[in-house]
Amino acid sequence: MSQNADNVVDHFNLFRSPEYVDMFKTKKENFENAEPTDRVEEIREWTKTWDYREKNFARDSLTVNPAKACQPLGAVFVAVGFESTLPFVHGSQGCVAYYRSHFSRHFKEPSSCVSSSMTEDAAVFGGLNNMIDGLANAYSMYKPKMIAVSTTCMAEVIGDDLNAFIKNAKEKGSVPEEFDVPFAHTPAFVGSHITGYDNALLGVIKHFWDGKAGTVPVPERVPNEKINFVGGFDGYTVGNQREIKRIFDLMGVEHTLLCDASDVWDTPTDGEFRMYDGGTTLEDAAAALNAKATVSMQEYCTSKTLEFCASKGQEVLAFNHPVGVAGTDQFLMGISKLTGKEIPEALAKERGRLVDAIADSSAHIHGKKFAIYGDPDLCYGLAAFLLELGAEPTHVLATNGGKDWAEKMQALFDSSPFGKGCHAYAGKDLWHMRSLLFTEPVDFLIGNTYGKYLERDTGTPLIRIGFPVFDRHHHHRYPVWGYQGAMNVLVWILDKIFDEIDKNTIVPAKTDYSFDIIR
């Protein structure tokens, strides 16, 4: 008997006991019609080859293990970043169950969102009644200050018109006439979650800056000295937004964080469930029209939003998820130039400390080859930091990256001797990455939780940076932006490098002469 009341054995070890191992063997031999072991080995070996890689890269219809999600996820992300705002997804309800689970698994936090629960009848007759009832129910039950509506692929295919539907619902008294219901069409078959972020954020600011869907006069822009800051879809939003606030406060920059989800995805356990916490206030969202400029941390996540800001007469400035010394330098200098505020000594000191840390440790990173995957901006920021550390970001892959992104990545590679031979893969997935790692191996892999399958199959150690990270806890509480954020990234990379060195030198009387206590 495997189980033991004194020391309960769970799935990690239970199924390794002989009776279970025998059971698996009998099942496989008698009932599974399993492939012969040598055939499995033969194919497994073949998948490591250049021949397989060529066939793998020749596919143009099948996607395997993509590193992207769909638009509505980004729209829900945006909604929770505004004060007392309830995300409302117009479409089939199963999608919302998925978004809520996905965010909860990453942030280990509640994720509130409702849907209009459209089913077959709505597919035939349209979802207007679902919108009318849905807004009324959500409003009376969850007492939001704003309901931000987005769509699913279903509502888009049948062509539901959100603007008209919301108007109609208001006429029917679902919510008061003056209640804020910004909206965005976010079809899942266009772009990815970063497109959804862009569309939904545009939907919110357009609502306030363009006269609330024609219900009030378009407000006149009265420019002031404030800066709007947009983080983009970011798995580190809790740590990052707080770090950015700290930096702006240190610099004395008056700012509005547009879409600040740092509190709602980091609520205390103190006996109270806060469905809403923090977030950009609706007053600030409206007043953000008057800002001098809008700064985005993620260009590919905010292109339409920035275009709209520019059309209102604001200066716009976009970065590509800056990580590291030069990235943060550019960010701070950009902000300084925009605002005329000096970068304070405290930040210069932080910079020096980061450089100090790099100088202490870069010998361990120098010349190491990395593969990176994730959203286009994150990939750019991480690759730039690796180049700065003297590492080679050999394969950089973004399933939701386009040709323009690949060109920008190439320009980055070309700017550094460490970028020689590095390549950006736009529109490719993690099964392509698997072939890359087998045929042109690297030392380390950087990406989200799904990379653990690549780590297992190819033996490339995974450093978890990105979204989602389900199987490690609390990393989202640490910033990756600013000099202190770069320090976190540096430490995560170094920890993995040292763990690998230790693993490689741990066999007693064989390899442990290098099992050093000082590294």
Binding site: Q3, V9, K68, Y98, N137, V157, F189, T269, D270
Partner: protein, 484 residues
């Protein structure tokens, strides 16, 4: 101070009335039919079920795609399951359900991978049938050891009128009768994941069973003791800790549905002598079909907690001869000391603790016995996507006066927990952090909170330990700020 049953019923009624007050009248009327109190002697729990969720509430339900791909088909390990449509559905359900299996992933097994046609706007405009055909070709090149393919339709497929059946048929023919199963599990169909289970069952009937030569002999030598496990998804290894008991009592398990299952096992099942059914909700359809068409009887069983396990082992054995009946007694006796040791260890720490459940499938009733084995009491329960026959079956488990909530909304569930103050809330990931913030110990009863297995005798020890660690964790003493 404990209430009498009558007082409990009064309290529940008042509580339900209070909760309904927040809704607009029309919604209050609709939701009111789903909330109630179990009355002893009644044939069901007195609540309406399996109807459309109210728009705008935070329902916990999923969709038909989740029921088909996420539950029934996804765990069949040697087939490739295409999430046909946009990228999201496959991405969010990617490896999220912990259906354990043994195999070389990406070579001869594929459960923890995400295959999608990643629909783009042009596929919506021009249709995705050609792309689907091409995808099947590409799968054949890159994954030559796959034993079949399913096409799991996402919402747009049905709306734009793609003919996935025609593509599947043509490709199956081209690849010499290969099993290619189109599944019309678009998310907008039905009112929850439940219809997806049914659709998936029907697709097994039509595209697996009906394609088999009726005179084909079993690929193994049949015995009088051949059974199939139906409706165990092997979450955290549940089906394994169940299978081992069936085999120990002398039965031979010829198929596992669908956790750690293979297409060969599906095809073997019509040769079984008895189907043993764990998740009635998701697989009663195919069990009934096999009974009608192949004459295979089926029996429901419950492998949560020693009381129900023993009952179930005896009931299963009742379908066989004395050899198996003796085998069941032998197994029960063998594990009795372990179970006693587990109960002796944990019952004193859990005695009298109150639990509120909200889950899917069979768990809102099946786990009640396991809690009772530990001296705990379930004071409220409900189903995400149960039907009336589930609520009928629940009457055998719940006590008079138990609060029942069907398709509970986030709002209702919070209010009920606040009012009844259980010692443990047991539900899913979307509910977990809400209740933990409120200071209530919580266990995820879909995924076993990444622990498990919970089925069988080996699983009960883990279940008991986990409930203890949840309820008696020192963290709950820290939730109140001491100076406030």
């Amino acid at each position: 101070m404990s209430l009498t049953v009558e007082q409990t019923k009064e309290r529940n009624k008042a509580l339900i009335d209070e909760v309904l007050e927040v809704y607009p009248d029309k919604t209050a009327k609709r939701r009111g039919k789903h909330l109630g109190t179990f009355e002893e002697g009644k044939s069901d729990c007195g609540v309406k079920s399996n109807v459309k969720s109210v728009p705008g509430v935070m329902t916990i339900r999923g969709c038909a795609y989740a029921g088909s791909k996420g539950v029934v088909w996804g765990p069949i390990k040697d087939m490739i399951h295409i999430s046909h449509g946009p990228v999201g559905c496959g991405q969010y359900s990617w490896a999220a359900r912990r259906n354990y299996y043994i195999g070389t992933t990406g070579v001869d097994t594929f459960v923890t991978m995400q295959f999608t046609s990643d629909f783009q706007e042009k596929d919506i405009v021009f249709g995705g049938d050609k792309k689907l055909a091409k995808i099947i070709d590409e799968i054949e090149v890159l994954f030559p050891l796959n034993h079949g393919i399913t096409v799991q339709s996402e919402c747009p497929i049905g709306l734009i009128g793609d003919d996935i059946e025609a593509v599947s048929k043509a490709k199956s023919k081209e690849y010499e009768g290969k099993t290619i199963v189109p599944v019309r599990c678009e998310g907008f169909r039905g009112v929850s994941q439940s219809l997806g289970h049914h659709i998936a069952n029907d697709s097994i009937r039509d595209w697996v069973f009906d394609k088999l030569d009726p005179d084909r002999p079993a690929p193994f030598e049949s015995t009088p003791y051949d059974v199939a496990i139906i409706g165990d998804y092997n979450i955290g290894g549940d089906a394994w800790s169940s299978r081992i008991l069936l085999e120990e009592m002398g039965l031979r398990v010829v198929a596992q549905w669908s956790g750690d299952g293979s297409i060969a096992e599906l095809e073997n099942t019509p040769k079984a002598k008895l189907n043993v059914l764990h998740c009635y909700r998701s697989m009663n359809y195919i069990s009934r079909h096999m009974e009608e068409k192949y004459g295979i009887p089926w029996v429901e069983y419950n492998f949560f907690g020693p009381t129900k396990i023993a009952e179930s082992l005896r009931e299963i054995a009742g379908h066989f001869d004395d050899k198996i009946k003796e085998g069941a007694e032998r197994v029960i006796a063998k594990y009795q000391p372990l179970m006693q040791a587990v109960i002796d260890k944990y019952r004193p720490r859990l005695e009298g603790k109150k639990v509120m459940l909200f889950v899917g499938g069979l768990r809102p009733r099946h786990v009640i016995g396991a809690y009772e084995d530990l001296g705990m009491e379930v004071i409220g329960t409900g189903y995400e996507f149960g039907h009336n026959d589930d609520y009928q079956r629940t009457t055998h488990y719940v006590k008079d006066g138990t609060l029942i909530y069907d398709d509970v909304t986030g709002y209702e569930f919070e209010k009920f927990v606040e009012a009844l103050e259980p010692d443990l809330v047991a539900s899913g990931i979307k509910e977990k952090y809400v209740f933990q913030k409120m200071g209530y110990p919580f266990r995820q009863m879909h995924s076993w909170d990444y622990s498990g297995p919970y089925h069988g005798y080996d699983g009960f020890a883990i279940f008991a330990r986990d409930m203890d660690m949840a309820i008696n964790s020192p963290v709950w003493a820290l939730t109140k700020t001491p100076w406030k």
